[in-house]
């Protein structure tokens, strides 16, 4: 019996230790302790923190606190000067940027034109894998005129060049710091933004603290801690339980409950959108009438209800956000949900008895899968024979890039509200999973090039009207629905401004002016 008694005592001791530790750990913070950090529930862990590489909105949210560029977006989404104090455009292809005086990186070293030149060159280097590389191919030369002045010469005029410089992927990095880290900024992080990276607990959280060397007004909150909550339910539960102050990517099923709860604030916008891409080199989608038939055959409201719990909006034409230069109400209401008309178009194209096709989507993202299922149902209901292919995301990307599909469901967001974003879809180029495979239209290409090179807004608008008409007639894409993108926060959080339309993902630019009352 003796050894049993010994075990009981041991268990008792262990329980006592646990209880003691519990009580100590649960004690309230001592008075006079620094203010607790602002806690933000991030939807995923950043794959890395290289500012020039695009790796998801969650990563960008963190990078935008640490890095800044020549321009940025203000709280209403307008392009405004950031590191630049002023700039001249002596001719349509030349920009001269004058930096603000006494700019410094967070390590105290001066930020000069050499760093700006280095950053633009780093983006242009294919090894970097920079998001804006292809667009910056327009740049003919970048030179440091003096330590405060940078001169950029373009091959041809570009109406959105300054807008591009306001994107977070155009951040300015330190030449000395980057060189010291062999060009690798994936984990080595040092910028000039309102915050500096202060702690990174892999798989758990990343913290940023106020940058004392920031040129602007010091960030209002001393520390922001980004905690990773990849699971939708956990992220919402974290907000509801008070574990976090704010979350991004509010799941659609929870938006209504959060909006109506007085304990929380919510801001959402129709930013990203869903659409269909086609392999236009393979029947039946070689025929524009078949593609147009799909514009009439798919019930957008059913997609919004099924995939987005009613949080979104139908697109029966082109995804041009209201307020955009090229917004044309008629172009957004081009199609209607009209299965009869769809059947008629298909009959004209010689598919009166229906066609057989496989729709590529992915099981990895619920919204892609649910959208695909509605498309399948709608088409099968009018006599087509659609099967779904739902591999994981990398497989789906590879199939798209190889053009190994007939038609596919995609979702994305424009980089900026300027209608030039249409060129990502409509301009010919290498086969890319977000684009319709094999779609090449030289007339369209030259219209898009011309619209980009035209600086006069009225002339540009006229050109985009033509581009829109041609897209609707040829239907290389069928756009389906907007989906709502929202942030939720607890009462007491003030000063958050959701940027409109596509720019919703750039809202974290303004975190520096947010406050929280506890």
């Amino acid at each position: 019996m003796r050894h049993i008694a010994w075990r009981v005592r041991l268990a008792g001791a262990a329980a006592a230790v646990v209880a003691a530790v519990w009580t100590v750990g649960g004690a309230p913070p001592a008075p006079g302790a620094p203010a607790p950090p602002f806690i933000f529930g991030l939807s995923s862990e950043p794959p890395n923190l290289d500012p020039h590489v695009s790796n998801g909105a969650a990563a960008q949210t963190v990078k935008m606190q640490i890095y800044r560029g020549l321009f940025k977006l203000d709280e209403r989404g307008r392009v405004v000067k950031d590191l630049v104090a002023s700039y001249d455009q002596p001719n349509p292809t030349t920009y001269v940027f004058h930096l603000r005086p006494n700019l410094r990186f967070s390590d105290g070293s001066p930020l000069t034109s050499a760093d700006v030149v280095f950053s633009l060159q780093r983006i242009a280097d294919p090894k970097t894998g920079a998001y804006l590389k292809k667009r910056f191919g327009d740049i003919e030369s970048v030179d440091a005129v003096d330590p405060q002045t940078v001169k950029v010469v373009l091959h041809s005029p570009d109406a959105v060049f300054i807008t591009l410089l306001a994107l977070p992927q155009a951040a300015v990095v330190s030449k000395a710091f980057t060189t010291a880290h062999n060009g690798d900024l994936k984990t080595a992080t040092m910028g000039e933004g309102p915050y500096v990276l202060s702690a990174y607990q892999r798989g758990v959280q990343v913290s940023v603290t106020r940058n004392p060397n920031y040129y602007g007004a010091p960030a209002k909150m001393a520390e922001i801690r980004f905690v990773f909550y990849p699971d939708d339910n956990s992220r919402v539960a974290a907000l509801q339980s008070g574990a976090v102050d704010m979350i991004e990517y509010v799941p659609w099923q929870d938006i209504t409950a959060i909006k109506t709860n007085p304990q929380f604030g919510y801001q959402g916008t129709n930013g990203p959108f869903m659409y269909l891409t086609f392999n236009v080199t393979q029947p039946p989608f070689t025929d524009a009438r078949v593609r147009r038939a799909l514009g009439y055959a798919i019930d957008r409201d059913a997609i919004i209800k099924t995939a987005f719990f009613g949080r979104g909006g139908p697109i029966y034409g082109l995804p041009i956000p209201p307020g955009s230069l090229a917004y044309d109400a008629a172009a957004t209401r081009y199609y209607t949900y009209d299965p009869g008309k769809a059947k008629q178009l298909l009959a004209e194209a010689g598919f009166g008895n229906g066609f057989t096709a496989t729709l590529l989507s992915t099981a990895q993202y619920g919204m892609h899968k649910d959208t695909a299922q509605v498309v399948q149902q709608n088409l099968n209901a009018i006599g087509e024979h659609i099967t779904l292919a739902l591999p994981d995301w990398p497989t789906r990307v590879a199939a798209g890039n190889d053009g190994r599909y007939q038609f596919s469901v995609m979702g994305t967001v424009g980089d900026y509200n300027d209608p030039d974003f249409l060129s990502f879809f409509l301009h010919s180029g290498p086969t890319y999973y977000a684009d319709s495979a094999g779609y090449v239209d030289q007339a369209m290409d030259s219209m898009l090039d011309q619209a980009r090179a035209t600086l006069d807004p009225a002339k540009r608008k006229a050109l985009y009207v033509q581009i829109e008409q041609r897209e609707l007639a040829e239907a290389p894409y069928i756009f389906l629905t907007w989906r709502e993108q929202g942030y939720a926060y607890r009462k007491g959080v003030e000063g958050f401004h959701l940027l409109p339309g596509f720019q919703a993902f750039y809202s974290p630019y303004e975190f520096e002016t947010m406050t929280v009352a506890r």
């Binding site: 191919g137 909550y229 497989t395 977000a434």
Partner: protein, 322 residues
Amino acid sequence: MLRYAVRRAAAALVLVWVVATLVFAFLRLLPGDPVLVILGSESGAQAPSPDQITAVRRALGLDQPPAQQYGRWLARLVRLDLGTSLYDSTSVTADIAQRLPTSLELIVVAVALAVAGGVVLGLAAARCRGTWTDAALSGLLAGGLSIPVFVTGTLMVLVFGVILRWVPIGGFVPITSDPGAFARQLVLPAVALAFGLLGIVGRITRGSVLEVLHQDYVRTARSKGLGEPQVLARHVLRTALIPIVTVVGVQFGILIGGTVLVEYIFNWPGISTLLFTAIQRRDYPTVQGVVLVTSAMFILINLAVDLLYAVLDPRIRYEGET
């Protein structure tokens, strides 16, 4: 005994190499190109240029023929270097060294809870066989076995985290930085994970004990006047323990790298999450490293269980000697 152990260890080593090779091969057979995932996020409107794809592929060493990549990887492996992640150029060994203990902390506590609870409940159910107590306990154990962890986990988050607010809903604090917070964070995921295991351990215990209870030597023990606790502890449980040890060993192995749902729900930064995201991104070195280490541990645990049998049951030991 020593020869038996050495032979088993050598076989385990060969098995690890086979696993390593299979992982390497299967990953390359899997469709999907890490370079494309690196260059475009899930909403990548802008296509990367072809020269970028080539340059990034070369920078990551993915332009070399698979045989050469395999050779290089094995050569590094011998030096215990698992390579660097394609995403953040951190060492895979360091990543695993950070994530594995986190997973083990969760698994050890969950297994301990499940074994303690499962053995007691299983024993009780067996002792009260055919009564209402047995039915209730068996029902509970069947529930543990059949309710998926994402249901129990999410329910626990809702009840104890959001409504009652007794414990944090998820997250992780290293035990070294704040043991109290660590313990509080651990409660929900450990209990959720233990609940499923409890069903397995409890049912095995019940069945195993029932079998042993009717053995002659148990009757002998009783008839020579031993008290019931001693009969159960010394004669029944010791024999009944063998299937339990087997099951716990196998389950422990499965849990290493198999707790992805619990980690996901409770934000526990374990090795399963590392593996899961690495597969989604086709981060070859990380997937290879994690699968290799977890399967090595699985093999090691099986080895330990085999050796433990030999300790528990002399017959196995002697067979091994012949």
